[in-house]
Amino acid sequence: MSVVELRGVVAVLGRFPALAGLDLTVAAGETVLVQGPNGGGKSTLLRLCAGLVVPTRGEARVLGFDLVVERHAVRRRVGLLGHATGLYDDLTVAENVIFWARAAGLGRAAEARANWALGRLGLDGPLADQAVRTVSAGQRRRTSLAALAVRRPDLWLLDEPHAGLDQEGRDVVDDLIGEAVAAGATVIVSSHELDRVRRLSPRVVTLAGGTLVGDRLGVVRDA
């Protein structure tokens, strides 16, 4: 079954066709790297797959749901790491992650799951009780990833997940993606750091001008 199925998708933001007729299919359990020049439509593709941008034309299905009529069903099953981290400055790292776990409807399991995610991203200890306002940009990004991981989404949409992270942080992100895939999730990553993401996935998709200009299996290093 394919998790993402786009045929001739046009997505207009205001008056600008960020996606100008895009075809893309991603199978379940696949990890896909999206690359391309700035303004090529990478971020819009990820937001579209999250059900946040409505396709103006074309056919779009994500996780089996139609993106025009059933995008609400899509939303709660995906995790999106965008350019903003989506956190509350005045709450602590732990409070943020617990809030998003509860918001995802985890109920009683929320706290345990949040603690797991905090530990997984190296955010436990005194750091967890610091206000997000006071932590570094890299720690902030990790907190955002923890808030995403607690949801255990079926489809991970990561926009530049390595940006602003140190070496250790990048390794943690890669491990997290690896674990998600092992657990059966599908991952779409946009990144400029080809070498790093290549280790995760052999499939590289190139977007430019809002369309697909390249889709190939690259050389896998360290395989």
């Binding site: 709660r76 999106l80 903003a84 989506g86 509350y88 509860r102 918001a103 409807g105 206000a131």
Partner: protein, 224 residues
């Protein structure tokens, strides 16, 4: 229904915790409320009798001005780091989200109302003659203001337009609330001989209508 209540309290508790930490209400809105009372006093030439008879109206105008600030803050909390995207992906029902945000605004308005009541007693020499009517009016009108404010705040923010749109959208809708609450306070503070309890009924109707409309319309606004 249980789910809605759980999400409602989750969102309201989150907003209030943020408020408690950042103290925007205590440090900025509350002093502003008192400032408004003082400015009215100066503008009306501090004639005690005039101030006393105008106190109910001035009180509610001050509440509306503060409500604008509280609503803008409530919107800014979600917009600052795009947490609003997370809320849309969370699967929480828009109605629960609306009720949660509105509840947090209501709690802040009630705190301000208590403060302002103290203000008019001290500054304008108002005297409370009907406590029950005063409290119920404060609560019902607060619900109406918080509901309409939360709805229109989301609307102005959703368009990505400046906060300047909020007052022109919100204040005319709240005109009946202003009239009703002022009249009820006229009775409760003994400023004019009117039947405040009849006005309370009108306010209750307004609170119910605005809350229902808000909970339904929020769904329409945030659906994409």
């Amino acid at each position: 229904m249980r789910e809605v209540l759980a999400d409602l309290s989750l969102v309201a508790a989150k907003d209030l915790r943020i408020e408690f930490r950042s103290r925007v209400l205590a440090n900025q809105v509350a002093p502003f409320a008192l400032l408004v009372l003082v400015l009215f006093g100066v503008a009306l030439d501090a004639d005690q009798r005039t101030l006393r008879s105008f106190a109910p109206g001035l009180f509610w105008v001050a509440v509306l001005l503060c409500a604008l600030l509280a609503v803008q803050r409530s919107v800014a909390v979600e917009r600052a780091d795009d947490a609003v995207v997370g809320l849309r992906l969370s699967g929480m029902s828009p109605s629960a989200l609306f009720l949660g945000k509105a509840t947090a605004v209501l709690v802040q308005l009630l705190v301000l109302e208590v403060l302002l009541t103290g203000g008019i007693i001290v500054l304008y020499r108002s005297s409370v003659e009907d406590v029950a009517l005063l409290v119920l009016t404060g609560l019902t009108a607060g619900v109406a203001v918080a509901a309409a404010g939360t709805l229109y705040g989301a609307m102005a923010a959703g368009l990505g337009v400046r906060e300047t749109l909020l007052p022109i959208l919100l204040l005319p809708v709240l005109a009946p609330v202003l009239i009703g609450a002022t009249r009820a306070f006229d009775d409760a503070l003994g400023a004019a001989a009117v039947d405040g309890w009849a006005w309370l009924v009108l306010l209750a109707g307004l609170a119910v209508v605005l809350t229902l409309v808000g909970a339904l319309a929020y769904r329409v606004l945030v659906e994409d």
